[in-house]
Symmetry: C2
Subunit: 404 residues, 2 copies
Amino acid sequence: MALPRWLERGMADLFPAGETDDADQSLAARLAEAEAAARPLRVKFGIDPTGSDIHLGHSIMFRKLRAFQDAGHTAVLIVGDFTARIGDPTGQSATRVQLDGKAVEANARTYLDQLRSLLDFDTPGRLEVRRNSDWLADLDLPRLIDLLGTATVGQMLAKDDFSSRHGDGKPIALHEFLYPLLQGYDSVAVNADVELGGTDQTFNIAMGRDLQRHFRQRPQFGLLLPILPGTDGVRKMSKSLGNTVGLREAPLITYSKLEKLPDAAVVPYVTLLTDLDPADLPRDPRQKQRAMALAVTASLHGAEAAHRAQADAATLVSGASATESAAVPAASLATVNFPAKAFYLLSAVGLCGSSSDASRQIRGGAVRLDGDKLTDPHQCFTAAADLDGRVLQLGKTKFLRLLA
Amino acid sequence: MALPRWLERGMADLFPAGETDDADQSLAARLAEAEAAARPLRVKFGIDPTGSDIHLGHSIMFRKLRAFQDAGHTAVLIVGDFTARIGDPTGQSATRVQLDGKAVEANARTYLDQLRSLLDFDTPGRLEVRRNSDWLADLDLPRLIDLLGTATVGQMLAKDDFSSRHGDGKPIALHEFLYPLLQGYDSVAVNADVELGGTDQTFNIAMGRDLQRHFRQRPQFGLLLPILPGTDGVRKMSKSLGNTVGLREAPLITYSKLEKLPDAAVVPYVTLLTDLDPADLPRDPRQKQRAMALAVTASLHGAEAAHRAQADAATLVSGASATESAAVPAASLATVNFPAKAFYLLSAVGLCGSSSDASRQIRGGAVRLDGDKLTDPHQCFTAAADLDGRVLQLGKTKFLRLLA
């Protein structure tokens, strides 16, 4: 039996990957069985409410979940609220911040709001949002010992990150061994048929399979998607690396970041973030980048906004007059005294509230002129004519075209 | 500061063993501090209610606890009822049998009953009996993660038995790492000043110290006693090795087992199980054995019973007529038909209810003739004269002197 193309698209790995009629060994067989029984598959994906800004790197998961939804299955989102409230008791882990219940709930709501454009929230039976506190809060010591008894120390030390830390003699706190088990127990709690994850989730998803067997459930399939490279085209898209495209960023920003994406990342982006056939992309690298950027922006913000963003970006780059671009407001330099230092310029055109705020923003790397970062608040501009038609940018959403 | 002699007697190790005025580093200082504050020390010892028969190997702990009681301190007995009810979920451990609540409670009661002769149950404030279900039943996941976070994998793998198993590639289930932490948490729950244990408890007691520090308590001292050798004089006294002296055995059995103890074990027995000064023992090995056996039997059953047991044992060994010994009833062989097989003999003299019961007892190793085990139910005795004056024994408490 073959897997449907919507499912295979962009897939990095699937386990077990049996090509049999056995619905425990072959996902195609499990799909056929579900269809025959008119029972939707339960496709689990865990979200971590310690942060709330979703970027494209996350969205590839939700696109796959959406494809399952569109094929009639149930996306089961697990909000890791309980784990987020515990955090890392040793304070060693930067990624496991302890948050109070309110912050967790606020993050979860913001997170879910952003998913409204990606997932089907409306068709009955297509989405379940579950909080893992529902079952983890009741996990008492006997059940926890039972859970711990399903895995061995050797098995845990075989996990990539544990293995390298153990090898390097770096301490591993015992509770760290618990998290893969708790994630696995989530699969038991929601009786998952499939768990979706990045390629770094193989171990945890396999743990879920073991636990489901232990609790006499049918083990889930692990469906792995690649890790999306960031806008640098190389490293994992991650907020801390500053190479993300956020879902809430303006279409122009999104498009502008994407059309500069290094060539090697263009096909993965098209495969993972659009419905285009990569074979249909233009040959010319520049055209290819633009087609990808347009399609990805459209998938996030709609076709109309994407086309406007493409036009605006062209205008920005070509340096044509601001009247050509509806997206970029103009600011007159008539009232600015030259020579003008950068911090004064920003406050004089109203991009910042004060000169000191402007200095801070420049030092913080938030200010660009025609896309080039300004670094020195005291950089001096001698005449208005030197700045005429250029675009001053603050952060990711504020643009002004300067007019002499 | 020096430790009192009653405390040092038989001690295998003490940690920390500082000889300072610091009551966190020196047990002598902690004792002095307690005395000055008229506050008794809390001396913890854990008992495992998966079995119920106490033998001499256990009693050395209770003798030390009693010494603390007599010096005005509080013995805190922790009944591991919660852990016994969980058992070993993997079924791998022969020592961690899972018992239901009733069996645990029955064992605990039987166990505590036997301690009445060893501990001071009556003086107010000298004894606390606590069940660890009191605090472990409420241990939820966040507190458990906190607990696990206090220790590292490397630390656990340094423990003797884990280390050797890990080295040999034998699996260690994750929940096994939890037990030392739970035992340590018991110390927090009862705010122990001292934990008593065998030399195999160093790791677990040190874990208790770490946890007490984590929960901002003063860390306990670890007071270790040696492992008592069994009646073979070599291996640890243990029911499974059949080398025990039980607390509920008859004085005659106790004395008889003890007076055959190999010479090397005599001084440890005197040190750990009596108040005699080993220097006062007779030089002659046989006399030394008998003095030890008398003193140990007296400490368990009182001086009168011990002296009677010594006299009875002498009678048995010398083969004098049964009338000389009040403890061993006589049985006439007049009604027995010879040649007689062993199973028939036992039922004929009334030691067993039937020939088939007698066969079973012989096969089970419960029958002795003059102390030598019978193994074959069909062993044949040709004439009554061959058995005249000999002692037939069933189990540990039934004796008959055979008379032709």
